[in-house]
Amino acid sequence: MSSSTNYRSLGAAKRSRASKQDLRLAIIFLTPAAIGFLVFLVWPTLRGIWLSFTSYNLLTPAEFVGFANYERMLGDPVFWNSMKVTVEYVVINIGLQTAIALIIALLMHRLTQSTLLRGIVLMPYLVSNVVTAIVFLWVLDVQFGVANQVLEWIGVDKIGFLSSETWAIPTIALINVWRHVGYTALLIFAGLQMLPNDVFEAAKLDGAGEFRSFFSITMPLLRPIMALVLIMTVIGSFQVFDTVAVTTGGGPANATNVLQLYIYDVAFGRFQFGYASAMSVALLLVLGIITFIQFRLTRAGSSDMN
């Protein structure tokens, strides 16, 4: 009895020594990442939240103003317009991008194994946002752009893709669909490859056609992947900035003044870092809420695979 106790306590001691060593090792490995996380993520976020309660112009010390920035935000028509414009952009961008990406992924999955083709699909994503925007700015130019030249040949009147109030946001959304669709398709494609083949074979034996097996098997099984893709792309989409800054600069008449651009202008054009921080916090909250809703609606945490 005593020996066994001895043995046990010895084992426990050994184990605890081992786990202490593990802990030390873990800390050593985690420290660099943790420092980065604290310095570049936690601290700026906390400081940003603090600044949103101040009046701050960079050159003189920040001055606490309570909720004044938030009150101003609620009554600021430009802010609400920016919110509306951003949502319009996200809906067009994400809707089209996800649909097209899903089709491309299915085609890649079912029809080809070619790595070259997968590479080509991903190519637009490798081009920088600013370069993409400048190229499209030229292609869509009203006077000299290729696109309007083609329209003229067809006999359609020229369209101010980036200069008309109605067209500008859809155009920018489509430019970013072009850039991101390959990447999104590749994510979905990776998800498709993980699906077990036997369920599809069983479905085939039971006489299910392509469409039936897509809607009844592929989509439900793909749900966690789609949820992840949607959450990631929606967050990215809300943060659109560079394409707009390069192509329209927010015009015509605030028609493309997306939230990030407005925040940038208030901060670096007008030196109101307090108000800009307040709007950034608002964006953070909106994104948090949307992500939470998406997570719940798509039950992203569970899978139907088991």
């Binding site: 050159l59 009203v142 101010g160 390069v246 008449a253």
Partner: protein, 455 residues
């Protein structure tokens, strides 16, 4: 000098520059304290490349006369200039002296980064009576102190494409003799209509003119004018119709965009684009400015500022200049504006900086600048040299000196909260041009602007 007409690429560059600022500001890595001992190198910043050679020559002459000082000139494009400047003030690495613009300096005055010039001995030695009238007032702050030493000036004129005018049988004199009226447009609109040609060769004043397929527009436009109160677009028209942008000519605290006088002018002005006499918004790439419109022959004439003279002269197309048309009050009015040199408060050698500023305003340096024929120098004697050069190059200098001579100039609004005002008025004016909203929509914008001043 128009921030909104920047090519996309500089806008992107400015964005990256600002990101760097942001990183500096947010991580709090602001500023190493500079050496206590005054350095003998004066850092001088400017944005205009075409003026760089003349100022390099001035710097060389200055160093010869002041062996204890060196001048280091740095040039950044207009797009990067202001964000770099702000970043450098925060980081404590800024210039000692820099070229300043009236749309920006009130903000720097309120941020307390500029040194008042009045107290420097060298500045007191400058004969400011020799300057073109009104330039010194432009650079005098609300506290009565001077924050910039005027270095040049500019007015607005009509630049025309000689070939298009010849083909239309129009004498350039007809432009300056014509009269604009907010009701019906007057003889000026008739002229603009006559100069417009549609795809079938029908002129704007002939029956059957197709306003939707225009080959040559009578009047060019590339920017609705929000960033500088219509300076090179419609400000002259509004002024001769009796409009003043703010309650006081300088340092006003109330804007007047709700004045029917400016609103009827704007309704008429942007209305030209409905008639096919002026491009619609987005018709031309705004980054190319009006210069490209008139030199490419897509437009018969454009209003633009004297700072562009060298570019119009060097174009392959023959371009002439005429005074802006007259208006309801019987005169032709133009904005007068100018750049100046400012000394930075945090500079480690303010005295040396002031000596350089004084030299830039001296007859020696101003004559060097005048002979380059790029801008009108602020000294009246040097202005005559530049006028002669423009006349030789075929650009009538009286189109620019005329308004100054007969006293028909007015200032840009110089007020506090300049950045807020432009942020509000730029989209509102774009709305008038792009979406053809009535100018009465400016009432709401004007209230929003004036609210900024109440707080």
């Amino acid at each position: 000098m128009n921030a909104n007409q920047l090519p996309a690429k500089t806008r992107a560059a400015r964005f990256t520059a600002v990101l760097a600022t942001a990183a500096l500001a947010l991580t709090g890595c602001a500023g190493t304290t500079e050496n206590a001992q005054p350095s003998n190198t004066i850092d001088y910043w400017m944005w205009d490349t075409s003026q760089l050679p003349s100022y390099q020559k001035c710097a060389a002459d200055f160093e010869k006369a002041n062996p204890d000082l060196k001048v280091k000139i740095t040039q950044y494009g207009w797009g990067d200039y202001w964000s770099k400047l702000t970043a450098s003030f925060i980081a404590g690495t800024g210039p000692d002296v820099f070229t300043n613009h009236v749309s920006q300096y009130p903000q720097f005055v309120s941020l307390d980064v500029l040194a008042p010039l009045d107290d420097f001995k060298d500045i007191q030695g400058v004969d400011q009576e020799a300057f073109q009238d009104g330039l010194k007032d432009l650079w005098t702050g609300p506290d009565g102190k001077q924050y910039g030493m005027p270095k040049d000036w500019d007015t607005i004129a009509m630049y025309y494409n000689q070939k298009i005018l010849d083909e239309a049988g129009v004498d350039p004199k007809e432009i300056s003799d014509s009269q604009f009226s907010p009701e019906g447009g007057g003889s000026f609109e008739k002229l603009v209509a006559h100069l417009s040609i549609d795809a079938n060769g029908v002129r704007g004043d002939e029956p059957g003119f197709d306003k939707n397929h225009v080959k040559v527009y009578g009047l060019g436009l590339s920017n609705a004018g929000g960033d500088n109160a219509g300076q090179s677009q419609w400000a002259g028209f509004a002024a001769t119709n009796g409009w003043q942008a703010t309650d006081q000519p300088l340092w006003g605290t109330h804007y007047n965009y709700d004045d029917p006088k400016v609103q009827e002018t704007l309704d008429w002005y942007f209305g030209l684009s409905d008639k096919g006499f002026m491009p619609r918004y987005g018709q031309f790439n705004s980054a190319d400015g009006v210069l490209g419109q008139v030199t490419s022959g897509s437009v018969a004439m454009v209003s633009d500022g004297a700072w562009m003279n060298a570019s119009y002269i060097s174009s392959d197309t023959k371009i002439g200049a005429a005074r802006l048309p007259k208006g309801p009050d019987g005169t032709s009015k133009s904005v007068i504006n100018g750049l100046a040199d400012s000394v930075v408060k945090s500079s480690d050698n303010q005295e040396g900086g002031a000596r350089w500023v004084a030299y830039l305003a001296s007859k020696q340096c101003q004559d060097v600048v005048a002979k380059a024929g790029v801008v009108f120098p602020s000294r009246t004697d040097a202005t005559n040299i530049t006028s002669k050069i423009y006349a030789q190059q075929g650009l009538d200098p009286t189109a620019f000196t005329g308004p100054v001579k007969d006293g028909n100039t007015f200032y840009l609004p110089v007020t506090d909260h300049g950045a807020d005002v432009t942020s509000l008025i730029i989209p509102a004016l774009e709305d008038l041009w792009a979406n053809r909203q009535p100018a009465s929509t400016l009432n709401g914008t004007n209230d929003a602007i004036n609210n900024v001043f109440i707080k």
